[in-house]
């Protein structure tokens, strides 16, 4: 129990470092925020100075950092210059879109890569093993935006089976009332499977695009880990005791092989978060990545800052969860 608490506490220094980093990044970004605020070139230096004071930019860096922390504590992520809206609100309305897409793709990648890696390891040299190798090498070589465009061209333009790649739902359909924020689930809650089906068709291509990206490292790692475990001494003992192949593979090998894979899921998830920006751009997905990107182009830095903070926060959280998960499976971690 104390180890769980210790593990949670140990992520605090990193979290603090992340806060400093996201704070500093807006300080080194080119240009003076006050000048951007004073978008009217006719404004005098005095006016700019007033805005600077209003924004707290005349204070020392340390003071500003404390103000930043205080604001964060109250859920204030700053204000977007281009829309004038609080960034926190904007992020909150867009986060479910990104989360739905990322989680969908993540689950898809896990569902394909882990069985593939296991079977490849069980039959080295077989066609499944070859397939696993090809996918692992091709998958990491596919730039997400090229994969996305290729899928759009094939399934939307040529075959016409996919809907137009513009966002989460056909523009002529009504969004179900928000409960979870995930349209796939909200549609079902609303008793409207048609909406869920429409949303599913929308999410399929971007989901596959992101999944292909994550699939390769996961399949590769599963295969390697499984091979490693299968050649270990306790598997030999299990064979020598005459246990069934099914028992050896599932109870003895698979659970042990999953330990390093589970701990690496955090890293994979992080890669996917990074790829999110590109995929959202390609599929006009109204998520936080696309939002941060648009803000960056219009030199609006508060959303970028918030975006980076959210990304790092999610990464730390996912890593914490996977560590705890691995700890529950592995008695040696001493968490259970």
């Amino acid at each position: 129990m104390s180890k769980i608490v210790w593990r949670i506490l140990s992520s605090i220094p990193t979290l603090f470092g992340v806060l400093i980093a996201t704070f500093l990044i807006t300080r080194v970004l080119p240009g003076d925020p006050a000048v951007f605020f004073a978008s009217n070139p006719a404004m005098s230096n005095e006016d700019v100075e007033k805005i600077r004071v209003a924004l707290g930019l005349d204070k020392s860096l340390i003071e500003q950092f404390w103000i930043y922390l205080g604001a964060l504590w109250q859920g204030d992520l700053g204000t977007s210059i281009s829309t004038g809206q609080p960034v926190a609100t904007e992020m909150l309305t867009r986060l479910p879109a990104s989360a739905e897409l990322t989680i969908f793709a993540f689950l898809l990648a896990i569902a394909v890569s882990i069985p593939l890696g296991v079977v490849a390891a069980l039959k080295p040299g077989s066609w499944v093993d070859q397939l696993c190798r090809i996918i692992a090498t091709l998958g990491v070589s596919m730039p997400t935006f090229v994969t996305g465009l290729l899928l759009i061209y094939l399934f939307y333009y040529i075959l016409g089976v996919a809907p137009e790649p513009t966002g989460r739902l056909d523009p002529f359909m009504f969004k179900p009332p928000t409960v979870t924020g995930f349209i796939l689930i909200d549609g079902l809650i609303d008793g409207d499977p048609e909406t869920t089906w429409a949303a599913f068709k929308q999410i399929l291509l971007p989901g596959i695009t992101m999944a292909i990206f994550a699939l390769a490292p996961l399949a590769r790692m599963t295969r390697a880990s499984m091979l490693n475990v299968l050649s270990s001494e306790f598997i030999r003992t299990a064979r020598a005791n005459g246990l069934t192949r099914r028992k050896i593979v599932m109870t003895y090998a698979f659970r042990n092989a999953m330990l390093p894979v589970v701990t690496s899921l955090g890293m994979t998830f992080s890669y996917m978060l990074g790829a999110n920006v590109l995929v959202e751009k390609v599929f006009a997905w109204p998520g936080i990545g696309a939002y941060a990107m648009d803000s960056l182009i219009s030199l609006d830095y508060a959303p970028l800052q918030a975006f980076m903070l959210i990304m790092a926060g999610i990464f730390l959280l996912v890593n914490l969860v996977t560590d705890l998960l691995a700890g529950l499976v592995d008695p040696r971690a001493g968490l259970s």
Partner: protein, 287 residues
Amino acid sequence: MAATHSSTGRLATLRYILSENRLHQVAFLLFALLILAAILGPLLAPHDPLATNPDDALMPPSATYWFGTDQLGRDVFSRVLVATRLDMLIAFGAVGLSCVAGSLIGAVLGYFGGVLDTVSSRFVDVLMAFPLFVLAMAMVAALGNTVMNVIYATAIINLPFYVRLARAEVNVRRHMGYVEAARVGGSGHGRILLVFLLPNILSPLVIQASVNLGWAVLNAAGLSFLGMGVRPPTPEWGILVAEGARFIASGQWWIFLFPGLALMLAVFTFNLLGDALRDILDPRART
């Protein structure tokens, strides 16, 4: 004499491994092609990659325009070919920088340990907490939208891998017999690091570097796809794909597909090369 002998021995091993594994041959062949295209690209291009020709706009692939033309009538093949040099420069520049800087930093940290090591490890943790692509985006935004800054940003996001690798490798070796012997023999820290430790960790660094080349190309192309770093009309694979993306809905597939394939091929080559090098340099990892 002994040196010649050992180098021919190594060459023989290399030839043996290459003859044994077709895929390795492919990797080295593709790599050579890529380098040739980067060096000779502008000489080989059949058309001026920047010359517009409105009469021939949006032509599908043909004998004149192998990969077709874009909306301004520019030859897609020439643009894809000429772009190789820029993409390779970014990749090699970034990976070279982070490999040299990262392994030196990592080696020093691993060798001396102590407070500096702890602090740096924390720093690396923080760096790794951000999705690397997002970090690169933010850094290019912060440093300014230039090719050099794309190289720096890509170098920085790849830094942690080299720091960690070199640190770990040096850490396990610093108390080994030959290092202790060098110390007793009066070698200074600098000499031990440069002469005795770094050459021994070269293999894993080279393997890491070749895999990283793939990431670096992906990263740079991703950034320019989003409109960061390289600016049009400079031919660069990411930009070419971004430009071509606008014409998918009207069926002009060749504008996005060919630069996309070139990009894939480059990354694929670096990944294959990484596997091949791992096989050749690290016999333990052979499967």
